[in-house]
Amino acid sequence: MKAASFAYVRPATLDDVLAELAGGDGKVLAGGQSLVPVLAMRLGRPATLVDINSVEGLDGLARDGDVVRVGATVRQRTLERSPLAAAVPLLPLALPFVGHRELRSRGTVCGSLAHADPAAELPAVACCLGATLEVAGPDGRRRVPAEEFFVGAMSTGAGPEDVLIGAEFPIAGAGEGHGFAEIARRHGDFALAGVATRVRVDGDGAVQQARLTGFGISDRPVTRDVTELLRSAGPRRAEPDLRAATAELAAEIVDTGGDAHGSTGYRRRLFAVLAARELQKAHRRALPTATEDPS
């Protein structure tokens, strides 16, 4: 379990990073939490590892207008501990589920997005919130909506000569509530099924919009507008009343082949339960006098 030989470079500028990636046989190293095991098992053999940790300006974490912008080398743990995270409530809900604390202290937010594991949490958060991802490549920079970025399992709109340099998460507005949950065999494992939810209500508490992203259930995060689903569930938007509709949704969008840890059928069951629970929670949190469900 030793990597095959590779060249290692640590450029100081983004231009140099792109120059090293030109040709397409390089691989970006940020936190290395997914890449290094892949190298050690010789499942990947890039000619060059391009370490971006010394590139100036990629470690920014700041509020920028109505978004929180996370640079390419910002660690998951840094974001988790930052007061800025509270402005995007799905982030503090989701980050504790990303691996374990030790992994989060090395792993980067953008690395998780660029790796695009279909069961990962951060791609789902990005999709649910409609985050924008900024990609630099040989033809310049481009901004990609999260839902378009994830095109398949471990597959994104960033090509082999591109580097994801930042992610912008929209700051929550008034009348928004969120929910996040996943079920894994153990804490810290990739989810068998998970959901991120966002519900917006108006000043009277009427549901304006509801959005749900499932993960671990297909080859990429799957996002649906579930406004009508939530509205149809009775005035309390209570979990039991939502279950028939979320079960229907599960049958539609859960299409992963399944494995020994979770078959397609079990993942449908989990998705249906979690979707109902987290929609109810998001709705309650969105209400003017937000009340946590005692259950």
């Binding site: 030793k2 153990r186 810290g188 069951r269």
Partner: protein, 804 residues
Amino acid sequence: MSGKWTPSRIEDGPLVTGRGRFLDDMDPLPGTLVAAVVRSTQPHARIRGVDMSRARAHPGVAAVIGPDEVLAALRPFPLSTGAPMHYYPTGTDRVRFVGEPVAVVVATDRYTAEDAAELVAIDYEPLDVVVGARAALAEDAPRLHEDAESNVATDRTFSFGEVDEVFAEAAHVVEGEYDFPRYSSVPMECYSVIADWREGADGPSVEAWANFHGPFTMVPVMAGALGIPTSKVRLHVPADIGGSFGIKAGIYPYVVLMALASKHSGTPVRWTEDRIEHLLASSTGADRVMRFAAAVTADGTVTGLKVDLVDNVGAYLRPPEPSTLYRCFGNITGPYTIGAVQIRARAVVTNSMPTGLNRGFGGQQLYFGLERLMDAVADATGLDVVDVRRRNLIRGFPYETPTGGVYDSGDYHAAVDLAVKNADLAELRARQEAARAEGAYYGIGVGLVTDPSGTNIGYVGLATPAEQRKPGRDKSGSTEHVRISVDMQGLVTVMLGSVPQGQGHATVARQVAADRLGLPVEAVRVVVDMDTATTPWTVTSGSYSSRFAPLVTSAVVQAADRIAHTVRAAASVMLDLPPEELELADGTVRHRDDPSRAVQFRHAAGVVHWDPGALPEGTPARLYEEAAFTPREVKAATRDDRINSSLCYGFVAELVAVRIDPDTLEITIDRVSSVHDAGTVLNQQLLDGQVHGALTHALGGAMYEEFTYAESGQPTSGTFLDYLCPTSAETGYDLRTDHVVTPSPLTPLGAKGSGEGSSMSFPVALANAVADALRPTGVEITKLPLHGEVLHQLLENTTQKELS
């Protein structure tokens, strides 16, 4: 907060400050090269040829060996039975599991060795595969070993007592078929070997280092394969080993393989197993398919037992297998007064990793069947699961079982009562009632096990029919050797051959020796690194079958008492008192009635070293003593196949309560009450640690860990992404542990082993709890592991059945 941390074990300081010295930290021989192992990608295939030419030509490569070199130099490992299933450290004619070694590359470093290993080209002719014990038994199953008539490596039937009669008279015959899964203990440190082949004036010899922990019966097995005398295999074991729990007993084929690699490279060779290799090809507990039947009277008394065990030992009958079948032979009836028993014991080979020792060895498999069966007995008789067990518990000790076990001591009723009280069973039943009222699942499971320790290796003989066992060639014993010496300053050194892997043997041995010699613990040091050329050892030496507390500490007592005898003799001269009136206490040798008449221990010891002319007639000037604790209660198997398979038998009573989310089917452990009887407690903290560790190990097997294989024979749990070990996040349940103490009359301190009890009891207690929780659904629990996906499938199938 107090300012200074005091380690509770002598081992802890170095370990937690990074000063442990594990095998991979050691570099004892200059010029050692590094090996990588080329492994089979095929579950079952004929080896048409192995082309090593490109690997041999790779820069930095010193040697490459494959099946031809193995066949030319080695003999098959001697097996525990006469099965014609030749076992070498590599595949020779065929490969029989994914991960089986085929070739070894020796190079300047591991990177180069792995680069060259990719250049070894193996030409395979794929063969049909056998996955799982049931498939192995099929009439038309592909055969793994051409010389054998079937895949059955051993098949023996035993009968004790009036089995047919009690079954004929039974009010109920309760039956069950159960599957026990295949899992490991996943030590943090993997296998590591350094081997050096030397040609000497008197022929070849091998000096090797390995993080091996016995049983040292494997030293003659290694020598047998190498074709050299046992005394010419010198094996070193480092003081620090990063866990094993039995798994590292499976390292010995690699010692032989690296010795052969060293012969070809002309240098010492080092190989350290990586995690991928470990999860594919090191060792695991055996999975078992089993049928049980109980003859039960109308009042719920179990009078007879039939068991049919089929162990899947993997591709080879690697010694010490088929011991999983026999380790619990003397306690196969568990803690119950079952007078008649019939046993069929089979081991089969399949295209999977070979099996071996794993904490609880044979016990978790046995008790999964026996204690699931006891729940079925409760069902059949309408009795409560605790009551039906109480009705059948053994009361008087010593107790002889029909299979030859002699339980040395115990108070099973007291332990069960305590476990029930600590669990607050009434409250748990109330929780269950409340949960059921709202449509939720809540269950309570019980597991009672007789916990054997200090194995009698004679049980291995049972795999061979009595008429084929040669007179005068019997095997028996639970011997452990210890050497104690006192230096010129009076410092005591205790040398153990117990090769610990983190259990804290040095801490306990130091305390025991200090107590016997009346010294502060600071005056005693313990040496645990092993060298077969200098450390006292025998075939039964090692760290397995919970033997430290009952056997090793007994040898420490015996050796220390001999030292004390000599020191008293020396002091008697100094004090002018008869030695029999002297006692060792407070660092002195003193008159037992007048402590003011005393000399320092070190001064008395000094007389032995410096002034032996002053010693009394008949007292040798020797302050080193060896003891071989040799209990007489463990004898070879009788002609009618009974055996006392362990010296001591402890007891565990465990209650487990689980809550199951009716929507997600996640299982949450609500409470565990575990009561152990390990005889005299030598160190409460270490005993608690063993209980916690065994519980977590068992939690892995019960809910998370399993080595699985696809129908194609490819392993499907080859990394930690799929082979899931419980972490601290999974163990945060309400745990209540306690102890009952019935000292063993067979060991000088009254101690029994305790490292494996909950490994045996918890898997079935959890299964019983889940079965109890799901009782309203009609789901049957007959196998492990249990988790949401498994319950989902069970419930779906039950619903399907109801619909059809």
